[in-house]
Structure formats: structure tokens, C-alpha cells
Point group: C2
Chain length 350, copies 2
DNA sequence: CCAGTTACAGTAACCGGTTACATTATTTCA
DNA sequence: TGAAATAATGTAACCGGTTACTGTAACTGG
């Protein structure tokens, strides 16, 4: 060996993490046995089990998630795909989902996916989750179809599946209750110039609420006036801006009520109305949707629709876990009931 | 070969997913080259790159996350550990965090960890994340120390590190502003029997707000009265129940103001007061903390403290990513400024 | 008493990437 | 112009688990 010869050191990666082989060695068993103990999927003798338990706590062994995932081809992760989370609506939804996910000892990863950012695959999908909860328009129809073809477990939330794709869907009753809400404004409070603040375009809740709104107008012989329709996105700041702008520039257009689309937007609407000196509900009725936690405490208390959002989250998550067991829910779309909540902002005195 | 010989079929796992080797083969290169192309960490000739791009889209290739994680020893996931998420407070926090995480093209996994559930390792940790954002008392001091010893990247949110552990921490100014808030009630509105609705015990914000409260009383020569302290948890339903109970059973104890601890609790407080016929702010002043989205719209509009919660989330996340690059923030604890927001519920007329 | 089960455990291939090391062709530059 | 540096790629060992396949001993029933 020539002088100056340099040993090629095996610079072992300083992965300090304890591995299953170390556990196996220390306990005097094979790695397979350790694995079986961890997963409880094969009988292990009592004393080996006890020994492993000791060794594992002593070594502070925690199985490496990625290694398990790679070997077992399952991630024990469910993904929640949203388009935005600028809305208090997500608190109850997330609560429902998280509770179920935790119960099943899965992890929950949250991602927002702007429909604009194409050409980039969504951050979560089959490569890093076992299934997806897809909120509203969190994913395009095409992507949905593509995942469906690959038989990837998914449940839609507040959105029904496109075409005839068999994807379970959990949402709430929008149209009938919106009809009743608007009907209430007309019949009880004599409102005739009811403004509609839309939600995001192409959003289903938004669509059905608008449909119910129109149906109520028609049922009462009130002509639909395009000028009374504003475009919002279920977001309080947008709502404020849009209405503020409207009032400032379209003074000649009168209105005596606002259907805000959802309660978050209602906050913005109330603020704009207040700042412009409209008295609610004397001059203008305001009604929302969702009955969020704060809605009963607004000025005035908000007439709205109670939607079981936490339950939506819970059921959607449960259905996803059922899909993991190849159990398809009875009904393709689970439509949860909604309920009229009459408070002060429509003009009622309760 | 004897008759009846049975071939041991290589029942290939029907893992339909496209692998890097398929891409490599189809593009006529080695897997190493594909890997290099994906990670852009070594020069690739133009035409090979083009070819790979085509093949990858054609095959709809998406790298298997677990395999990458296992091989590279990094997960590209940050974990957010909460104790609960029953609070609208999390919406802005989550927003701030998510924005940063997405910018870095990482994934965000959310877990709630009940401090009670010991003997079970937290659902997220070094085995499945590159770093943790730990909210409040989402993890015990011991666990914190243990992770710190292993040099695991963490940033604390709304909590300062125990002992002398060098863990970056991002939170808001609580004590001084609470002092000012209570001082306002006393000096401006002549309140003397100010009730304190505590947050969760051992929660730092709660502690400092209480400290500020006591300091203000003392500075004004008002004796601290233990009877005026109620235990809440920053949650509207608890707040409602606790105050409701108090009013029902302790009629003889008078009070003329309530410091609700946070705005979410303020909702419950307002409801309870309203139901029992107290007029706010004429008879009782109510003040909160956080200035959540709805606070300006409560009945009456809530006097509170504006806390830059979204910024807290953003900065905490940024600091975590800095830690990934071995950059420790200048200050151990980043204390974000808070601001008094005077509205109607304290008695002011604005 | 023996064939057929069952309980328990070990060996080693495999999951789908990353990367150290080796190799060849092409530049760069003294 | 020849040595050294650089560019572009390939080979194969690994990452840390899971599990198919085997093997042995104890048990069971006829």
C-alpha cells in the first residue's frame, strides 16, 4: 500500500434514531418479532412481549414513520384539501374531522390548493396520504376523476361529485332552507328589494342558496333584479368592501334586505351598513347562513340558518375511514338537515 | 422437473404506482439521473432533462413521499401541536402558519395532544416531521427537554421555554396591555369590582393577563378579591356556563365589570349577562383579548386588545424554517406588540 | 402413536427513493 | 499539449421498516 493512501472511511450517517434492529438485538429476538409486536398482528409469547416492552421504553424507540409507510404501503395519514381557510367556518369543520382522525390514530395534513396553480400536482394525494377529504372546489373535476380512476379513497365536503363519479359526498341542505329564509323576509317583513351577496362562483353552497333565493322571489311574484346581486366569497373583508363600494357608487339602487350568503360575510355586511348609517333591521334586514359561534352575539343578533358543520366534518371523516375498509356509504350524497334560526337582524323581535 | 412441480410465482404487489425506475427505463437513463433531475441537485444535460420532463408527465409520475423521506432522512413536513382547537383564535394563527409552510413547499400536519394522555408518544415528532410548532401547553416540559436534547427543531407559540432551554418562542405582550385595559376600566369608568375570568390554568397568556390585572388593581388601591376570579379556558361555552353558574349561586357577590380573558370567552360572558338581565356596559363593563374578527360586531362592540395572531403564526413558522438552516433567531423570545382597542362594551361611547 | 394444526419465531427480499463512489467525455489552462 | 478540473451519467449500497416463506416445538384428535 503506497504511502499517502487514504482510507475511504465509511462515514456512517449520523442518524441517531433508534432502529428496529437495535431493539431486536437488545431483546434477543429477530426484527420480524419486534415488528409483529408493534403491529399486534401475530401471536407473541408473553415473556418476549414483556421484554420488548421494556427494551422499547428503555431505548425510547419510536418506529420511523416513513419506513413503515414505504414497507406497508399505507401512510396512516388523511389529507384535508381546502381552497382557503380565511373563515371561522373551518373551526367546527376541523374539529369534527380532527376528532375522528385522532380516534383512528391517523394523522391529519392540511393543505390549501389554489385552483389557479395548475401544472403543479396538489401537495397531498396518493403519494403521501391514504385518502382525502376535499372541501368544496379544492380540486378540479379532472383531478377528481383521475384520482377516482385510480381508486383512491376520497370524500367530498360541501360539494357533490361531478358527472357519475361514485364519490361519497357530505353536505347540507341549502336550497329549501334558503327559500324559507327569503320567504320569511318577504312574507313576515314585507321585504321586496332583497340583495344577494353571492359566495365564491362555482361553489355549490353558493349556487343552491342563490337558487333558493330566486325561487322564493318567484314564488312571491317579485322580479329578480340582477343589480341586487353582488359577488362575494364568504369572507368578511370582501363582503365589507363589496357592499361599501356598492353603496358608495350605486346610491340610486335601493334595497331593504341583504342575504349575505354566510355568517362570516354577514359581519362585513353589518359593518358596511352601520358605517353608512343604515339601521338594521329597521331599514335593512340582514340574514346569514351557518350559525357560527358568534352569530347570536352580533349587533343585532343574526337571523341565519343553522348548519351542522362539525357533524359534516365528523361524518365525512367517518365515511373516509369506511372507504378504507371498502365500505361504501349507503347514499352517495349525505345531505344534512339545516334549520332556520330567527333572531333580530331580519326584523323579528325575539 | 417432476410432474406437479409448483412454481413459486412472484406475485408482484399490485402497487400500481409509477416508480422512478419505470421513468428511468422509459427515458433510457439511470434512476440516479432521474433523482437528480427531480431534486435539481446536480447538472443534467438539456436533452435528458427535456426527455425526463415528457416521460414524467406522460407517466403521471409523482415521487413516493415515504420513499424520499426514508432515503433522505427528511420529511418536508412541519407539525403543529395544539391542545385544542375549539377557538376562533386558531383561524388567523393557522392562516399565518399555513402561508409560510406552503411557501416553502412543505406539508403541515396538525395534531391535538391532550396533556392527560401520557404513556403514548405524541402523534407527531421526530419520526414524522422535520420540526414542530408547539402551541401553548401542547407538550410537557419533559417532552420539550427531551426533544431539545436530541436537537430537534422546534418553535414555541404563546409559551416561553422552560428553564434555560434554548428554544425560540413567539408570543405577544400580555401583562402591560392587561394592566392598561384594567386601568382603563378603573380610571375611566370607575369600576371597582372587576371580575376576572381566567384562561386555562398554567397557560402563559392567562398567567400574564392575570398578573396585569392584579397589578392594575394594586396600582389603584383596589384590594384583590379571590371571589371575583372564575376559572375558564378561553372557550365560549365554558365561559357561559361558569358565569351563569356564578350568577345563579352567588347572588350576593356584586361585580361591575368582567375581564373575560379572551374574545371567545367574551361571547359566552355576554350571553350569560344578557340572559340574567345585566345591561352591558351600563351596569357591567366587559373587556376581552385578541380582537378576533367578530369582536367589533358583538352587542355591544367589544373593547379588547388587538393581538397580531396571524403574524405570530407567520413568524413562528419562519423561525422554524430558519432553524432548518441552523439559523437561530436573534432573540430567544419574540414578543409582539399588542394594542388597546376601545369600543363600547367597556362603557366608552365610541 | 402419528398426521394435522397451531403457536411462535427467524431469514431475507422488498418498498421507492437518495447518494457515495466510479467512470467517461469534454473543457480549461499553465 | 498534457494535466487537472468539470460535466454528465451509471452502479449499487443504503434508509428502517413489513411480510412471505420456512422451520420447530407443542398440541389435538382419532
Amino acid at each position: 500500500m503506497p504511502i499517502g493512501y487514504v482510507l475511504t472511511k465509511n462515514m456512517t450517517k449520523k442518524s441517531h434514531s433508534v432502529t428496529i434492529r437495535q431493539v431486536a438485538q437488545k431483546a434477543g429476538v429477530s426484527v420480524a418479532t419486534v415488528s409483529r409486536y408493534i403491529n399486534q398482528n401475530a401471536p407473541i409469547s408473553k415473556d418476549v412481549a414483556d421484554r420488548l416492552k421494556m427494551v422499547m421504553t428503555e431505548l425510547r424507540y419510536v418506529p420511523h414513520a416513513a419506513a413503515r409507510q414505504l414497507a406497508s404501503q399505507k401512510t396512516r395519514v388523511v389529507g384535508l384539501l381546502l381552497n382557503t381557510l380565511h373563515n371561522d367556518f373551518f373551526v367546527p369543520l376541523l374539529n369534527g374531522i380532527e376528532a375522528v382522525v385522532r380516534k383512528h390514530e391517523y394523522n391529519l395534513v392540511i393543505a390549501t390548493y389554489l385552483l389557479g396553480s395548475r401544472d403543479m400536482p396538489p401537495p397531498i394525494g396518493p403519494h403521501n396520504t391514504d385518502g382525502l377529504l376535499i372541501f368544496s372546489d379544492g380540486l378540479s373535476d379532472d383531478d377528481l376523476a383521475s384520482l377516482h380512476d385510480r381508486n383512491f379513497p376520497m370524500v367530498l365536503v360541501h360539494r357533490t361529485p361531478p358527472d357519475s363519479l361514485k364519490i361519497p359526498s357530505v353536505t347540507v341542505e341549502n336550497k329549501r332552507i334558503s327559500f324559507e329564509l327569503i320567504n320569511h323576509l318577504i312574507k313576515v317583513h314585507g321585504r321586496k328589494r332583497i340583495m344577494l351577496l353571492r359566495g365564491p362562483i362555482h361553489q355549490e353552497d353558493s349556487y343552491w342558496r342563490e337558487t333558493g333565493y330566486k325561487a322564493a322571489l318567484e314564488a312571491n311574484g317579485i322580479p329578480f333584479d340582477e343589480k341586487l346581486v353582488l359577488n362575494g366569497d364568504f369572507e368578511r373583508h370582501t363582503a365589507y368592501n363589496v357592499l361599501h363600494e356598492f353603496i358608495a357608487t350605486e346610491k340610486q339602487i335601493s334595497f331593504d334586505a341583504v342575504f349575505t350568503g354566510d355568517d362570516d360575510a354577514a359581519i362585513g355586511v353589518l359593518k358596511a351598513l352601520h358605517e353608512h348609517g343604515y339601521r338594521v333591521p329597521e331599514e335593512v334586514s340582514v340574514v346569514g347562513f351557518d350559525d357560527l359561534g358568534f352569530s347570536a352575539f352580533l349587533t343585532p343578533p343574526l337571523t341565519t340558518v343553522s348548519a351542522p358543520t362539525e357533524t359534516v366534518g365528523r361524518i365525512a371523516a367517518e365515511q373516509l375511514f369506511s372507504l378504507f375498509d371498502k365500505q361504501y356509504p349507503e347514499d352517495d350524497v349525505t345531505l344534512l338537515p339545516t334549520e332556520l334560526i330567527i333572531r333580530r337582524s331580519c326584523g323579528c323581535t325575539s
